[in-house]
């Protein structure tokens, strides 16, 4: 059985599989992750840490969600 992780996305408690990336969790919830400087919606694009389109805030730090593993109690802020 897959072990699960419990974390918080914009305050909402979410359970997901350990070993997956934060981007995979977020993309499945909503493809739009942030807005560009001109205010246009953006989502996961390269999925390998190059493009920075999937940046979100985790525990106050800016991370690329596609190269960030989900962890218990992570506080994730999407769409800043």
């Amino acid at each position: 059985m897959t072990e699960s992780v419990i974390l918080f996305v914009d305050g909402e408690q979410v359970r997901t599989a350990r070993g997956t990336t934060l981007a995979s969790l977020l993309h499945a919830r909503n493809a739009a992750l942030r807005t560009s400087p001109a205010g246009r919606p953006r989502g996961l694009y390269c999925g390998m840490g190059v493009c920075f389109e999937c940046m979100v805030r985790v525990d106050g730090e800016t991370v690329r969600s596609c190269v960030t593993q989900v962890r218990d109690d992570m506080r994730v802020e999407v769409g800043q």
């Binding site: 400087p37 106050g60 730090e61 800016t62």
Partner: protein
């Protein structure tokens, strides 16, 4: 590429571009040649602060005129280069440096300007995130910044509308001399016959002058800069280091947030000049510099310690023995210098444009003429 011109400006940084634009606007048939990209060397790598504070009491008249010119250019051209009259703070870390700051403030106030010394609490009203251990800061409300890339582009474009012909990727390979007068420039793309050549190539101006057997008292000085990834509005003013009682310790610090949101912070590593020729091989920023820059930024702005660093780069300023520009006639007829930014080329560029245009057109001298005349150095007297 034209075969002849009234004047050829060598160097497409902010100084060369400002001069070329002014020449064209004053009806001179001018050509601007740039070895690589316009504004791509020293100008684009700088932080483009325009101000009167803690620069030079002797040059206040020029600085005030230059600041006013920048503002009017921005207004005239429709704000194409992010002109921002954000004011400048110079932080003071040690009590013993307070008298130095006070002397600058007194000198500038005597000239009619309005800098003042602020307590740490008053500083935080102006710059809320500046919570580091400062004892005071001076504040000069009229100082401003521009986007260095866009400033060059806008001046170039405006010059073009007035008939300026400008060529990027066109290196000058030699000066044509006719006895002791200049007759033209040779470039990679052909020669241009002209009676006026303006050397505005920053630290490379010395190499060009040697084609006319002249040694300019110019040496390169390495400066470097770090930029962060775009941040929400965090820093409002230009934050710089106050000159300390014992002189500039490890160069200056300048911190500001660009219109793009990027936080830019730079330092000149040493007051000493770099060895001649260093400007020809531009290295990466030394890691010690990046480390110290990060320390300084996060000492002053502790809440920025987790922001992402995006880029670092190096530039070479052209330094003169007395920290003033070398702008005016050289002892070869038709050869004119406009170099020696000492890290503050943007501040003076519009005035230099006017000064050099007057010289080319044979008009009467202006105050900047005596300040910057190359003939103040014995080796550059005719």
């Amino acid at each position: 590429m034209p075969r002849t011109a009234d004047a050829v400006v060598v160097g497409g940084g902010i100084v060369g571009t400002a001069i070329a634009r002014q020449l064209a606007r004053d009806g001179v048939d001018a050509v601007l040649v740039e070895r690589k990209a316009f504004g791509g060397a020293v100008s684009g790598a700088s932080l483009a602060c325009l101000g009167t504070h803690m620069h030079s009491l002797d040059e206040l008249e020029v600085l005030v005129e230059s600041c006013a010119l920048w503002r009017s250019i921005s207004d005239e051209l429709g704000d194409p280069f992010e002109y921002n009259r954000c004011g400048q703070l110079r932080f003071i870390l040690r009590e013993e440096d307070l008298p130095v700051a006070q002397r600058w403030i007194d000198g500038e106030r005597a000239f009619g300007l309005d800098p003042e010394l602020l307590s740490p609490e008053a500083v935080r009203d102006k710059e809320p995130l500046l919570t580091g251990p400062i004892v005071a800061a001076s504040h000069s409300p009229g100082d401003a910044t521009v986007n260095p890339f866009l400033a060059v582009r806008a001046l170039l474009r405006d010059g073009g509308n007035a008939g300026l012909k400008a060529f990027a990727n066109t290196a000058v390979t030699g000066l044509q001399m006719d006895g002791d007068r200049v007759a033209g420039v040779q470039t990679e793309r052909g020669s241009i016959a002209t009676g006026n050549v303006i050397l505005a190539a920053g630290p490379w101006s010395g190499q060009l002058a040697r084609h006319a057997d002249l040694d300019l008292p110019l040496v390169p000085r390495q400066a470097q800069c770090v930029a962060s990834v775009r941040q929400p509005p965090s820093i409002r003013t230009v934050v710089g280091a106050c000159e300390s009682a014992g002189g500039v310790e490890s160069g200056y610090t300048q911190i500001q947030q660009a219109a793009s949101g990027q936080i830019l912070f730079n330092t000149v590593t040493a007051p000493a000049a770099t060895r001649p020729g260093a400007e020809d091989r531009i290295n990466e920023a030394p890691i010690g510099f990046v480390r110290d820059s990060i320390r300084t930024l996060t000492m002053l702005f502790p809440s920025l310690s987790e922001i992402l660093m995006l880029r670092s780069w190096v530039r070479f300023e052209a330094v003169t023995p007395d920290d003033r520009f070398l702008a005016g006639r050289l002892p070869r007829r038709g050869l004119i210098a406009a170099a020696g930014d000492n890290g503050t080329g943007f501040c003076r560029a519009p005035v230099l444009g006017r000064l050099i245009s007057r010289i080319v057109r044979g008009e009467a001298a202006m105050p900047a003429d005596t300040l910057y005349a190359p003939s103040r150095f014995a080796e550059l007297r005719a």
